[in-house]
């Protein structure tokens, strides 16, 4: 999460808390607008900035407002394209009889934000069951998807991968998820839970299934804790909004996290979200009081620092896999398929 002395980073944290219950007013904007727009765009906060300007919480002169309007229109044009192609992917999976759930961007824009125009996103994320991953990839490829990096081994996608990244219509990215996180915590998620109690969203008159809010919150916390080394503030805001959502059942979230052995990333994510606003929710107070065990501390280490992340996460994954899975996992990493090596410009191991 953005912290430290940089005034634009500090200001973006203040913006990320805009309109949250108990939040301070957004601080005066520092620096020049170009820099703010560039950094707000990286953090997916252009929509929140537009909302803050529309409600006069952030004053801009007419030229600056016109500049922001252009940036927001660009971001909204992108999300509309993404939603259109998402519907195409949903149609393909539904026609193939593959159960699926929409994750993150579009789902959160419509479920969690006061106005979906507040939420920017840059790709689509769709979850399918492990046993359906191969069929889902195949049917999407047959409908024009492109897979830049082939599987590490024939069974890797359905057994071990967090997700399969596909190029989808209109040069957009579609991440086809098997689980919610890379590395050890991704292997610990009880995947059947993700298909219980779906919530229906209506997009362009069509029904789309997504997770219930409790599981969006758990996913959001895991994403903030384990996703990028520095969490995007747009994701932190999602989590803060979910933690303040009346329909979220805090005990159900904690029970699911316990079942998944993901209470540590839940706590780390919620602590980050809790720093946006001084008034803590029940779950954020729980996170503040939570003591991370040595085991979880070691697991969380696998997600810090960019360099060597994949290797550290892979090593940490071994401890949570069965013996049989460990062998297959290590074999796939040590001897990736020729197609995978070719796509990554690697030679066969000696």
């Amino acid at each position: 999460m953005a912290e430290g002395p940089d005034p634009v980073d500090r200001w973006l944290q203040s913006l990320a808390a805009f309109d949250l219950p108990g939040a301070q007013p957004v601080a005066p904007m520092p620096g020049n607008l170009n820099e703010v727009l560039s950094r707000a765009s990286e953090h997916r906060l252009i929509g929140v900035l537009a909302a803050a300007v529309a409600s006069d919480a952030v004053p801009l002169d007419p030229d600056e407002r016109a500049q922001l309007t252009l940036a927001h229109e660009g971001a909204m044009g992108e999300v509309l394209l993404l939603e259109e192609v998402l519907l195409g992917a949903v149609d393909v999976l539904t026609s193939a009889g593959i159960d699926h759930r929409v994750l993150k961007g579009s789902a959160l824009a419509h479920m969690v934000h006061a106005d979906p125009s507040d939420r920017c996103f840059g790709d689509n994320d769709v979850l399918v069951r492990s046993e359906d991953v191969d069929a889902a990839v195949e049917v999407l490829l047959s409908e024009g998807a492109v897979r830049p990096i082939p599987a590490l081994s024939p069974s890797f996608d359905r057994r071990f991968a967090k997700s399969v990244s596909l190029g989808w219509r209109g040069a957009t990215e579609l991440d086809l998820h098997r689980t919610l996180a890379p590395g050890p915590y991704g292997h610990l998620v009880v995947l059947e839970d993700l298909f219980d109690n779906p919530v229906e969203l209506i997009l362009a008159g069509r029904s789309v299934l997504t997770l219930p809010a409790d599981l969006h919150l758990l996913h959001g916390a895991i994403h903030v804790a384990l996703g990028d080394v520095e969490a995007r503030l747009g994701n932190v805001r999602d989590l803060a909004l979910l933690a303040r959502r009346a329909s979220v059942d805090a005990q159900a979230v904690l029970d699911a996290a316990d079942r998944w052995r993901c209470t540590a990333p839940l706590a780390v994510g919620l602590r980050t979200a809790g720093r946006l606003v001084h008034v803590r929710t029940e779950l954020e107070q729980w996170a503040d009081d939570y003591r991370i065990s040595e085991l979880d501390s070691r697991r969380l280490d696998a997600y810090r620092e960019r360099a060597g992340r994949f290797r550290r996460q892979s090593r940490a994954s071994l401890a949570v896999l069965s013996w049989r899975d460990r062998l297959a996992f290590m074999r796939a990493l040590a001897r990736p398929s020729a197609a995978n090596r070719g796509a990554r410009g690697r030679r066969a191991p000696a």
Partner: protein, 88 residues
């Protein structure tokens, strides 16, 4: 006849109006300025006259002026498959 937004459109409000993407359509349609008020007025099935009256009230403007400004916009939105017309 009453008009309404087609169900199969995606849209987002912007600082300056609304962007609309008909699913399967060739392009994004932008309604600038008072377009957001028009889009809001079209949320429910409405006759052309009632939409004009709603916008005239919002903008405290002459009904005839609103009607003559609005007619080409409504025709354009219909041609771009953003609006549909139903009996009633």
């Amino acid at each position: 006849m009453t008009s309404l937004r087609r169900a199969d459109v995606l849209w987002r409000a912007t600082l300056d109006g609304v962007l609309i993407r008909p699913v399967g359509g060739p392009e994004v349609v932008k309604l600038a300025g008072t377009g957001l008020a028009l889009w809001a007025a079209l949320d429910e099935p409405s006759s052309f006259e009632s939409v004009c009256a709603a916008l005239a009230a919002i903008h405290d403007a002459d009904l005839d002026v609103i009607a003559s400004d609005l007619r080409p916009v409504i025709d354009d939105l219909t041609a771009r498959e953003v609006l549909e017309w139903i009996d009633g």
